[in-house]
Symmetry: C2
Subunit: 367 residues, 2 copies
């Protein structure tokens, strides 16, 4: 290991998670934030040594640290990079924001030392923000895009790549433009769609709202995200995002036209759903493996403390590995449905064992 | 109880689930389907008595049954209703399809006895289809829309309302037009959006696909749905659906225009995300209550049989009711993160107890 000391500037969800991950690998970590309470919380969580005053960091470190991770909001990345480089905080610098082209262009314009900088973006996050939501395993197995350019120095790229690997993530090198194009589609467009759909709920009657089922909830879950952060992200990738929005609008209008033709409507919608089926098959599955198809063993549970635990103890007793599970609660009902997802060949034995132990198993078995 | 005998025509997910729910309430149920294997499976599941030949149903029942539930695909509802009424299968008739106006208008044109018919639509479903996915609790606490009109008789409405209540659902009376307007927004539009988004994955590089995270997955989960069924649904509500598609396209284009204006971009996107936050707050929560905010206690688990069971046993030992839980697996990682959702006042005690038992609890506590 060549990485010994890192400073994280910005003790939010991502910065604190990076710090926790590095601490677990025995890297010395210093934590800075504009807000002293966030520094304190992050330090309490074991994320490293509080470094509230960057002008005095040299007293703590004597020499520049290996990497400064700038985990600040998109609009602050360039100014924090310039200030950090002026102070010689670190040998190398990286950021973690979800837009790459524009900040790197701005940094170049402002005369940043880009040989020492590698743009980075870990594809990991949560709807919740702040150091209290941080987890050292946030990046485990997730892609972490690095966007070196012709300006990037070899030392900086090697150091930041090592940091990514220490966090347990998979480094993925893309150009800043490729990165921004990709996230416009898989991240920024879905955010816009989820928010626009959820916003519709404001203006309709409660009867209609009550008809919204799990599908609508899933589709709008990310609509709970932080407006201010997303305003910055969208503005930083505005032209690519507006292109994807227009492309989706074109798709929607084309489908609307075909729905208005009684002879074309059914086939057109069927084709769209079939295309969606095909697209979904390309998503990677659990543990990075090709998508595995598990069999669901549904069990109806009383909504009482300990019920689920007893169920899983009994499942464990059957020697079956529960790969995943989902809990559904019907509104107003005192029972819930738990679906245990297991390998297909284990479903029958699990159902049999659970039934023998008195569980209300709804698995129909092989027919 | 005045409901004694019901025939379910169509032993798919919904029909078989209705039959199971009614059997649990000691209603006598007959099951019919074009496919004898589905009848057999439904009967094996305890959904009632096989009635493979409707022309001979009289031999089984002597007199018409109370209600015939027509759980057939949208395009077959009217013809099955006409045939069932010609045979005097039942005193009253209802269907379960997710479009209401057009079939009712068609039935009227074809001279159906609409005094004996009440359109119905249980807002419950799954991505999986067929009797093997059926559950007697599918409708528990869910809304079940009924769409009586001026033609509907009192006896039919009372009977079908009782059936809905026996299935554990909440009857909700809307006009056929109100119903179709509502589902265009909360069900058909999300299906179109999810499918169109997922379809984009077909044409992009694997690098981009790999960047898709949980948000994209959630948004496209229902894109796994059945193309043929959805073609029929969309065609049956084509004009309302095309209007909602155009309205969303208008929203997308308006947002795209504002993103193209550097002075407006951030504020515009921020406003959209804030509007989505507000819309989400209107969704009903668990058990039909106002949305409760639970606190997540994150625990890192080894991905081994029995681990989750041991965790939940220890949580139960703390006397804490786990309201919900989610499991996340990082691709490529041998560990997963389990989030136990509990009432806020119980989070600290749960975290403390679990830590004392050696679990890797990542809950930060109160600060």
């Amino acid at each position: 290991m060549t990485l010994h000391r890192v400073i994280v500037v910005g003790a939010g969800l991502v910065g604190t998670s990076v710090a926790l991950a590095l601490r677990a690998e025995n890297v010395e970590v210093f934590i800075n934030d504009r807000d002293p309470r966030r520094i304190e919380l992050a330090a309490d969580l074991g994320a490293g040594t509080a470094a509230p005053d960057l002008t005095r960091l040299a007293e703590l470190t004597e020499t520049p640290v290996d990497i400064a991770v700038l985990a600040v909001p998109p609009v602050e990345v360039v100014s924090v990079l310039m200030a950090s480089q002026r102070r010689h905080l670190a040998e190398s610098f990286s950021d973690v924001t979800s837009i790459k082209s524009q900040p790197q262009a701005d940094a170049k314009l402002q005369g940043a030392d880009l040989a020492r900088f590698v743009g980075g973006h870990p594809l990991a996050g949560r709807e919740r923000a702040g150091p209290e939501a941080a987890r050292g395993d946030l990046f485990l197995g997730r892609p972490w895009v690095l966007t070196p350019t012709a300006d990037t120095g070899r030392v900086a790229l090697a150091a930041v790549t090592e940091l990514v690997q220490l966090c347990g993530a998979q480094p993925l090198v893309l150009s800043p433009e490729e990165h921004d194009e990709a996230v416009a589609l898989v991240s920024h467009l879905p955010q816009a769609v989820a928010s626009l759909l959820a916003a519709r709920l404001r203006d309709i009657g409660q009867d209609t709202v009550d008809l919204a089922g799990q599908g609508f909830r899933d589709l709008t879950r990310i609509a709970d995200s932080d407006p201010q952060l997303w305003g910055q992200i969208a503005a930083g990738n505005a032209h690519r995002l507006s292109s994807t929005l227009r492309a989706l609008a074109t798709d929607l209008l084309a489908l609307a036209d075909r729905l208005d033709d009684p002879h074309a409507a059914a086939a057109a919608f069927e084709a769209v759903v079939a295309a969606g089926n095909a697209g979904r098959l390309r998503l990677p599955g659990k543990h990075g493996a090709a998508r595995e198809v598990f069999t669901a063993v549904p069990v109806v549970l009383a909504d009482e403390p300990g019920t689920l635990a007893r169920l899983l103890v009994d499942a464990g007793g059957a020697g079956v590995n529960v790969e995943d599970l989902s809990l559904e609660h019907s509104p107003g009902a005192p029972v819930g449905l738990c679906e245990l997802l297991v390998r297909p060949e284990q479903a029958e034995v699990l159902a049999t064992v659970l039934r023998a132990r008195g569980w209300a198993v709804h698995h129909s078995g092989a027919h």
